[in-house]
């Protein structure tokens, strides 16, 4: 108990209400100038992980705030990635010809559902719409039936598996295991050269900043508070006259949207998209980094994704064999001692910042209505 001290921030430079925006602006500036002081390889790595951080914000909304542990975010990531890749492939294919992999697989004409992707506007709209609508539909199927906890995790994981199997199986339409590769240009801009690399990096950073601001705003609205309310007491919310399912579907759709945008950016950074980056294992990896950073906090989730993936790159090139063990141990450690992740740790260490009333996940005291699964 903190006695009668009001938990709102006081003046002074160290007050959490002032410190956090200052720190975030500093980090943003540091990142914005990165192309001028980072090497080519490090910059492309950073750009890639910044694009993943957009998906992390989605997981923060879906898992951290609404309490839905989805092990299938890779599906939405992949849908966004493939929607853009289809356009890029059509641009790279000479007029009147078929994409190379379709020729190898004996297709004679472009499938009708590929055709509209020739338009960049349509493709960009699909990057946003398809993952959002698919997530909304899957969410509606699950939450209408009041599925919660592990059942949701298992179903979303099964969807990820089915999606990858479908992609691999329909080789003529999706290029199967190889994925869609060999892009040339987008909106008339050649996808190579340092000018493009820098531009893509800044676009990624700008979109991440936009997604971050949007997520933070959203979680501060009454809607955002209701997501936390649904997580902590779905029945209480239902018996106050709300329909929790509609809030969960909305949160799940937002997670899908952010996943899709993230996947499209990642496809540009990688120069290809394939089932290898969107299946069950990548989906779980997304969740692990968010857990490490702190799932209930947008800052924590994004930072966990960025730092975790950089660590992965560095450690797995130094000691390739040990990497999986290190990642597994980190996850176990977080689950056991840091339910709020690194964000929770920072919060505990900062003086006076511990009790700001942000909807974090307090350990224990979870038995209230019996419908809130803690981690799995």
């Amino acid at each position: 108990m903190t006695g009668q001290r009001r938990p709102s921030g006081r003046g002074g430079l160290l007050s959490p209400t002032l410190l956090k925006p200052l720190l975030l602006s500093a980090v943003f500036l540091l990142l914005a100038f990165a192309p001028f002081y980072l090497g080519e390889y490090t910059l492309s790595l950073l750009g890639r992980v910044l694009s993943l951080a957009v998906a992390a914000l989605g997981i923060c909304i879906v898992w951290g705030r609404t309490g839905i542990l989805s092990l299938g975010q890779g599906v939405f990531f992949g849908l966004g990635g493939y929607a853009l890749a289809m356009h890029l492939k059509l641009v790279a294919t000479p007029k009147g010809e078929l994409p190379d992999f379709m020729l190898y697989n004996g297709l004679e004409a472009l499938p009708f559902w590929w055709k509209p992707f020739a338009s960049p506007v349509f493709a960009l709209a699909m990057v946003v719409l398809i993952p959002t609508l698919v997530a909304a539909f899957i969410g509606w199927l699950m939450f209408r039936r009041r599925l919660t906890g592990v059942y949701v995790s298992i179903i979303t994981q099964a969807v990820a598996l089915a999606f990858v199997t479908l992609l691999i199986g329909s080789q003529g339409y999706t290029s199967g295991t190889n994925g869609i590769t060999d892009f040339q240009s987008f909106l008339g801009i050649a996808l190579r050269g340092s000018g493009y690399e820098h531009g893509l990096y800044w676009v990624t950073l700008a979109l991440l900043a936009l997604a971050f601001t949007g997520t933070t705003w959203l979680l501060g609205t009454h809607f955002g508070k209701l997501l936390t309310a649904v997580r902590d007491g779905e029945n209480r919310v239902r018996f106050l006259g709300y329909n929790p399912a509609s809030y969960k579907v909305a949160a799940f759709a937002l997670g899908g949207l952010l996943g899709g945008v993230s996947g499209a950016l990642y496809t540009l950074h990688l120069g290809n998209v394939s089932p290898a980056v969107i299946g069950v294992v990548p989906s779980i990896e997304l969740v692990v980094w968010v857990a490490l950073g702190g799932r209930a906090s947008p800052t924590g989730a994004a930072a966990g994704m960025i730092l975790g993936n950089i660590a992965k790159d560095r450690i797995s090139s130094a000691v390739p064999d040990a990497w999986l063990y290190i990642m597994g141990s980190l996850f176990v450690l977080v689950v056991l001692v840091l339910p709020d992740g690194l964000a929770g740790l920072v919060k505990r260490l900062l003086p006076g910042a511990a009790r700001t009333g942000t909807p974090g996940l307090q350990p224990a005291a979870k038995e209230v209505s019996g419908d809130a699964p803690s981690v799995l």
Binding site: P7, H222, T228, G233, F239, N243, A296
Partner: protein
């Protein structure tokens, strides 16, 4: 927002009318052909031994449990079969036995969730509620004596405070019919007395149905008592009559002669 339903001319007095309701859990009848009415604007206590069906009755009213027979009418309208949140939107709100506050949200935000009129997700992308809603939040904070705790996460409240917060949430949603399931569970004697005063103060504004075991609380509330036993209405009357009724003692304590607690001659009751 649907306005509370108006009364049908056939039942001008009863806000809640439970008619011949039977609830069965895999063959076990938790409620058997139960008839039960609560008049508009009144407070009613519901007591009965464990397993009498008190909580099941509230579950049935609120739509958590569906009766296999009979119907629940509210304001003249049949509500059994409607989804829970729609029943709540008609003006019935329930406080559950275990305090169901929203841990991570501040006390004020808990009340905002309750007070907010528009329950749809699309309508809630806004940071502040309407002036009237914010004023109602402040009103409920005063009513429950939680002003000093308004900005603390609900998780940090003491047990009694959590109970009050949840009563505040239920009251704040401005229901016509208030269902309170053991509102004083785990409270000290002083807290119980305060809770009784709080509930008595609500009487004019809401119709209230309270379940509780604590006889001091029942006494403090001074409301008519209904006794439920084996899924049926067993007795109805004033606390003094109920307390000295040998049949009621029997269902609570076993055989009446063993109980050895009937100072007066047992009097007949319908």
């Amino acid at each position: 927002m649907t306005p509370p339903a108006s009364f049908s001319p056939t039942a001008p007095e009863a806000l809640l009318d439970v008619r011949n309701v039977t609830v069965s859990f895999d063959g076990f009848k938790a409620l058997t052909d139960l008839n039960f009415r609560v008049e508009k604007g009144s407070i009613r206590m519901l007591i009965g031994p464990n397993g009498a069906g008190k909580s099941t009755l509230l579950d049935t009213i609120i739509g958590k449990v569906h009766p296999v027979g009979g119907q629940v009418r509210y304001g003249g309208r049949v509500i059994s079969g409607l989804p829970e949140h729609e029943i709540v939107q008609l003006g019935i709100c329930r406080k559950f036995q275990a305090p169901g506050v929203l841990d991570a949200l501040s006390v004020r935000d808990n009340l905002r969730v309750a007070v907010r009129r528009d329950k749809g997700w699309l309508a809630n992308f806004r940071s502040r509620l309407s002036e009237a809603e914010e004023a109602r939040v402040d009103e409920v904070l005063t009513l429950t004596g939680l002003q000093a705790r308004a900005d603390f996460p609900a998780l940090q409240l003491a047990h009694g405070e959590k109970q009050w917060l949840e009563i505040g949430m239920v009251v704040g949603s401005d229901p016509q019919l208030l269902l309170l399931d053991e509102p004083t569970a785990g409270m000290t004697a002083q807290e119980t007395a305060q809770t009784a005063a709080l509930i008595r103060g609500l009487a004019g504004r809401h119709t209230i149905l309270v379940i509780d075991h604590d006889m001091t609380f029942v006494e403090l509330l001074g409301a008519p008592v209904s006794v439920l036993h084996q899924g049926q209405l067993f007795r109805e009357g004033h606390l003094d009559e109920i307390r000295t009724d040998p049949a009621v003692m029997e269902i609570y304590l076993g055989r009446p002669k063993d109980a050895n607690a009937t100072p007066r001659e047992p009097h007949a009751q319908a």
